[in-house]
Amino acid sequence: MTTRLTDVTSNYRRRKLVDSVMTGVAYVCTAVAVAALGFVLFYVVVRGLGAWNLEFFTSTTKYFGEGGGIANALYGTAVIVAFAALMGVPVGIMAGIYLAEYGENRLGNVVRFVADTMTGFPSIVLGLFVYGLLVLAYGFHGFAGSVALAVMMLPIVARTTEEIIRLVPDSIREASLALGVPRWKTILRVVIPTAMSGIITGVILALARVAGETAPLIFTILGNQFWNTDPFSGAMAAVSLFVFEASKSPYEAVQQTAWGGALVLVLIVLVLNLTARFIASRGSVR
């Protein structure tokens, strides 16, 4: 006895129905997520743009009265993040290379576990740690904030570097080894260049991650309304910290500059992410 293709269809109809319902649910969830993001962006842009003018970018922070800007805070963020990168990036990249190429052992697993735990560590605790380590002895200063941010960056950079180096196919390593190139040179001159765009992407994402951090800065750089260009002594300002402090101010004008600072932070993160995407899209391994 033969059945026609159109027989026994109830099961198929049910599947089709469930399929379209689930697809609908997925669309709605996506829409909610995108809407939330869009709303935040929209709100920050609308409120923040109003604060943007020449004075905002050229004068120092003020917590009361009229006017005031973020010049010293921008400078502080740039310097603190730069020093953080200077410390966190090379160590992180080298740790990642170690994990990917030599880390198939107990030590590697320990390092991996520590890195993953550090990634999930509350950032304020890092701030407290650096407070005990540096601030108690040397007072509040910008470099202490850099140390806290570097500790935050380290595990992110290490793990993304490891992941991306693992994506480099073994066949490439073998090709180099078979040419009589030593292992270390193979890693340095063949594997890492192949993974380079991915490594840079990881570094930029880590920068974006820490550039807006506030909690680890509270106990380290404190914040400062005046110019302090020396990251090695005296309290310093940072944009994130300014937004946090200024938004609590009762003065309308100060709140306004806080929104302006928030917009600056959002733009920094946005630009860094776009740069990362652009570099990643041109890489040999993704």
Binding site: P169, A175, S176, L177, A178, V190, T194, S284
Partner: protein, 295 residues
């Protein structure tokens, strides 16, 4: 015994070469010396290869003649790739990879205690089954990658090497106008010939190829076979192939690998001149395999 007599002679000659002054001088000498002088023989004695505790091949002995093409055939999984990778110490790159037995290159045991695998691989080059050009490098840089990464060369010298090796690999005409393009922009067959040129550029004495044409179209395969015909004038060539006609066409000697019972390690079942293996093999399994009765 003749084998070892000859080996001894060559060893003495090599040592004499070494004594002759600066390495630069020797470099020039070897390059201008007649091609036959560079190709080397390899002698494999009672070789077994393991991955951890798993024994993949056992008790393989083989004499690989200089300036000849030696083909390795046999059903898959019987250890051809494992064997060919022991010849330039790439086997030990695999986790748990180790061997027992001896492999002599020009009379020297490449597994002797003080031998640096890096130096072995400079003298015994390898082309892999899947084309694997370096993705970040141009065609030109791919060809000279081994040279640039292992020693300094003058630019004019590199230009000359790039053209010569690409010609030897039958790729020059197709890429001469786009040497700065990425190596991975080429077709699969072109990439494989690029990998051959890259191997030739470091001037090895022996070239190993593990199914170099298995993933390629017939035209590319033909080009690679043509190139191999010329290669053996300068090099000793060992090639693993699944293609019986290819083995019969291009090789001088053929080794048949076989596993008699499931779970046993692979063995070199028969080794002889190619004509003999294909027209009058000594063992029944060889005959069954080359006539296509199993495989």
């Amino acid at each position: 015994m003749r084998i070892f007599g000859e080996t001894k002679e060559r060893m003495d000659k090599r040592q004499a070469d070494r004594r002759q002054g600066a390495p630069g001088e020797r470099e020039v000498q070897t390059r201008t010396a007649p091609a036959v002088e560079r190709a080397q023989e390899m002698v494999v004695e009672n070789l077994s290869a393991y991955y951890g505790n798993f024994k993949a091949i056992t008790d393989v002995s083989m004499h690989i003649r200089p300036n000849k093409i030696t083909a390795l055939i046999g059903p898959s999984g019987c250890g051809k790739s494992t064997f060919i990778r022991t010849l330039n110490r790439m086997h030990e790159v695999a986790p748990g990879g180790r061997i027992e037995g001896r492999v002599l290159l020009d009379g020297e045991d490449i597994y002797a205690r003080d031998v640096d695998p890096v130096r072995v691989r400079r003298r015994v080059g390898m082309v892999f089954q899947k084309p694997n050009p370096f993705p970040t490098m141009s065609i030109y840089d791919n060809v000279v990658a081994g040279l640039k990464l292992t020693r300094r060369r003058k630019k004019s010298e590199l230009d000359e090497i790039v053209e010569r090796t690409l010609r030897q690999a039958a790729l020059w005409d197709e890429v001469k106008n786009k040497l700065s393009e990425s190596g991975t922009s080429l077709s699969g067959g072109q990439q494989q010939r690029l990998c051959i040129a890259r191997t030739l550029a470091v001037e090895p004495e022996v070239i190993l190829m593990d199914e170099p044409a298995s993933a390629l179209d017939p035209i590319s395969t033909q080009k690679i076979e043509d190139a191999m015909e010329e290669l053996k004038e300068r090099y000793t060539v060992v090639i693993v192939t699944h293609n019986m006609q290819q083995a019969a066409r291009i090789s001088d000697y053929t080794g048949f690998f076989y596993i008699e019972n499931m779970g046993d390690p692979g063995r070199l079942w028969e080794f002889d001149e190619t004509d003999k293996i294909f027209s009058n093999p000594g063992r029944k399994e060889t005959e069954d395999y080359v006539t296509g009765r199993f495989g």
